[in-house]
Symmetry: C2
């Protein structure tokens, strides 16, 4: 995870519709949801939503796979993992500070 990748990911999530899309995909699970189905559920215009999906995809937060005519979008949990570890890197300079209860997060979620 590089600085600019993190900024792209945070920018992608810093938008009402895109955040809703990501959370919807998280709830839906790894199988994925077709683009138009997402648009229908969020009451968004297909063209507008397509732009948002492209941004989420470029940010690495979602994956897109074709199934017949449809394109299924699914969340990339590894991206969230990487993002949090980047954010908390070298927490408290390695010392067990007030962040102690969170310091193990990186190790925990990276498996």
């Amino acid at each position: 995870m590089k600085r600019d990748d993190a900024i792209d990911a945070f920018s992608a999530l810093a938008h009402e519709t895109r955040l809703a899309v990501f959370r919807l995909l998280v709830k839906a699970g790894p199988e994925g949801v077709p683009a138009l189905e997402i648009a229908r559920r969020l009451e968004a215009k297909p063209s507008t939503l397509s732009g948002h999906l492209g941004i989420l995809k470029r940010a690495g937060l979602v994956t897109a796979t074709r199934r017949q005519k449809e394109i299924l979008y699914a969340p990339n949990f590894g991206a969230v993992d990487a993002l949090v570890r980047f954010l908390l890197e070298d927490c408290c300079g390695g010392e067990p500070g007030s962040c102690g209860e969170l310091a193990g997060l990186g190790a925990t979620i990276s498996g």
Copy 2:
């Protein structure tokens, strides 16, 4: 954590300087760093940085406490915790999906 709070937090982190500020504070630990010291380390103009600190503070990502003439800024780890849990809420509809290794994250980092 409400939707708009999450958007404010992601927006705050979706900026080169603000992201650098937060990560600097994470590394520095819970004691905090004075505003001008942050500006000096990041080679940013004080007035510009002040705006960024205000945004981070309003987003709940950092806290500010005065010590003598200085104002010390420190990271709010609880905000990161809440943000991640909001993002992964109801992961895979509760089923043990591919997000299995991350599903316990909320419980893990919330202590």
